[in-house]
Amino acid sequence: MAIIEVKNLVKIYKTGDIELRALNDVSFKIERGEFVCVMGPSGSGKSTMMNILGCLDVASSGSYELDGINVKTQNRAELADVRNHKLGFVFQGFNLLPKVDAVENVELPLLYRGVASAKRRKAAVEALERVGLGQRLHHRPSQMSGGQQQRVAIARAIVGRAPIILADEPTGNLDTKTTVEIMNIFTELHKEGITVILVTHEPDIATWSERVLRFRDGQLIADEAAPKGVQLDNEVKPEDI
């Protein structure tokens, strides 16, 4: 069974009398463990798609099933639980809490799941070690580089063992070397069986994935295998760049 199934999804934004169809009749499936890129120019509807997939927003019509859950019927509190258990978010701007250290940032999803303090800490430390930040457990975001902050964000996304990671331009603010580091982490997670969905407008990034969903003017215009051209670069170790 597909982990994500979207059927005839429509999202309409209304500003006064003007109706904007941000998504128009979009349907696709994503199988468990896939590495998918969502691409398209700005205004194509890919961000709206991402918000709906991330249960941060609900569609105007059509259906969205996430791991067997019909998202449409969930209320705000239930959507929060779905996000907590099924999804891990990685944002372009990292979106870490500035006043607490790495461990506490990573603990956050478990806090809202009601996990006991000691267990939470253990899981958070493990997740940070997993992304190579075992030495920076108690640094605050302001004391870390962009790449390190993004790795904290990834640790936060995986700490709850969510089956899906949604990444919105995760390398948009990073230099090439760091981008490769981050993309390698996503690749590893994908190999472990986590479903990775990544929004980007950079064709280079798409080459790391297996499948690309292209959007334009609110419609899914292409559902194709990822471009292979630069795929070899994936194997390049960061230090070679």
Binding site: N51, A80, N95, K99
Partner: protein
């Protein structure tokens, strides 16, 4: 626990602001406690005075003699007698206790100690009327009153002055050189609000006092006053009417002839004083509550600012799975912690200021546990009440918009 820790940390992150916000609550709670303490102090002073007498008390005085238009002082007449007192006790329905008084002052001697004090001749009912209790021994009896026995009950001050630490019971003291056997000692009552020592007293049977110690008017059985205690508050008026009717009949006063006695309702006057102290207490408390209210609005204001400042944080928390209720509880907890902390500091400063007022301005203050409880409850309520709206606003934020906010 976790929630409180998070709240504390976020409050500590904005130390100056938190302290300034708390200041409103600190001043409010401090003011409530101080003001109520001042009001209670005043009320207690009045209460202390009331406690010197029994409740529901009517006092009957002889009318001053009125010879050729020149009137004597109140109570200086001699129209009331022990028989009047007995008649009131026997014939009135609304009365609980009747205690006639014949009093004076005298030198008392025991061994080689002597002391000048006042004595009151009365019946055993005087204990109820004056709210007195026996500490040791017993009061003189009705039989003692009938036989005019030379026995007496001493106040603790008199005991201390005459006996030091020796046992006074069954000792014989001399009042104006007449020997009296001590049968009882009163429980200490302390000074009343006028600074008068209520323990510097001697009680003895009224008949003994009349025959041996005091003499006023022309009759041996005249009394200085009759204390009448009504059954309860409601029968006060009836008791007054009955006393008046009984006395007019006994004194054979025909229609149109003025009373040869005066009836005073002491309770009423004292209750008035008490209730005005109460009103003062309430007024002071009300004024102080307003500052508490203003403090609460300050908290709401700051929490609203805090919510809009931390929109992004709220968005992040929601994205990783915080339910609206989690967000609401978080902000509500911050508001409550803020106001409870302010409340605690306010209590400390309120208690301190009250003590300082008593110490330096010499105003009596009484810090009541209730006012502290109320202050704590009130500041928590202020936190919840004024924290709720900002918290609700935070919980209604749209996660997407919140995440987009810079």
């Amino acid at each position: 626990m976790e929630i409180i820790k998070t709240a504390l940390r976020s409050l500590l992150g904005n130390r100056t602001r938190s302290i300034l916000t708390m200041l409103g609550i600190i001043i409010g709670v401090g003011a409530v406690i101080t003001m109520v303490a001042i009001g209670r102090g005043a009320a207690q002073q009045v209460e202390g005075f009331v406690a010197g007498f029994g409740s529901n008390l009517i006092i009957v005085f002889p009318a001053p003699p009125n010879s050729s238009g020149a009137r004597g002082a109140a109570g200086s007449g001699a129209t009331l007698t022990l028989d009047d007192s007995n008649a009131i006790a026997n014939e009135s329905f609304s009365i609980q206790n009747v205690a006639p008084e014949a009093n004076g002052s005298a030198q008392v001697i025991y061994g080689n100690s002597n002391w000048s004090t006042s004595f009151t001749g009365s019946t055993p009912e005087i204990l109820n009327v004056r709210n007195l209790e026996i500490e040791q021994g017993a009061c003189f009896s009705d039989a003692d009153v009938r036989s005019a026995a030379k026995v007496c009950v001493l106040g603790p001050t008199v005991v201390k002055e005459l006996f030091g630490y020796a046992d006074p019971i069954d000792a014989v003291i001399r009042i104006r050189n007449i020997p009296f056997r001590v049968v009882g000692v009163l429980k200490a009552k302390g000074a009343n609000s006028f600074g008068q020592d209520q323990d510097d007293v001697i009680f003895l049977p009224i008949t003994t006092a009349q025959r041996r110690l005091v003499r006023f008017g022309t009759r041996v059985d005249s009394v200085r006053r009759i204390n009448v205690q009504a059954r309860d508050r409601d029968s006060l008026t009836a008791a007054q009417d009955e006393v008046k009717a009984i006395l007019r009949q006994r004194h054979k006063l025909t229609e149109g002839v003025p009373d040869d006695f005066n009836i005073r309702d002491l309770t009423e006057a004292l209750e008035n004083a008490e209730s005005s102290a109460e009103v003062m207490s309430i007024l002071l408390g009300a004024v102080a509550s307003i500052s508490l209210l203003v403090g609460g609005i300050g908290i709401m204001n700051i929490m609203l600012v805090s919510v809009s400042e931390r929109t992004r944080e709220i968005g992040i928390r929601m994205a990783v799975g915080a339910r609206p209720s989690n967000v609401r509880v978080q902000f509500l907890t911050e508001a409550v912690v803020l106001s409870l902390l302010g409340g605690a500091i306010g209590i400390a400063s309120g208690v301190g200021i009250s003590k300082a007022i008593t110490e330096f301005i010499k105003w009596p203050t009484l810090i009541s546990p209730e006012s502290i409880l109320i202050a704590v409850g009130f500041s928590a309520a202020v936190g919840v009440f004024f924290g709720f709206w900002p918290a609700y606003k935070a919980s209604r934020l749209d996660p997407i918009d919140a995440l987009r906010t810079e």
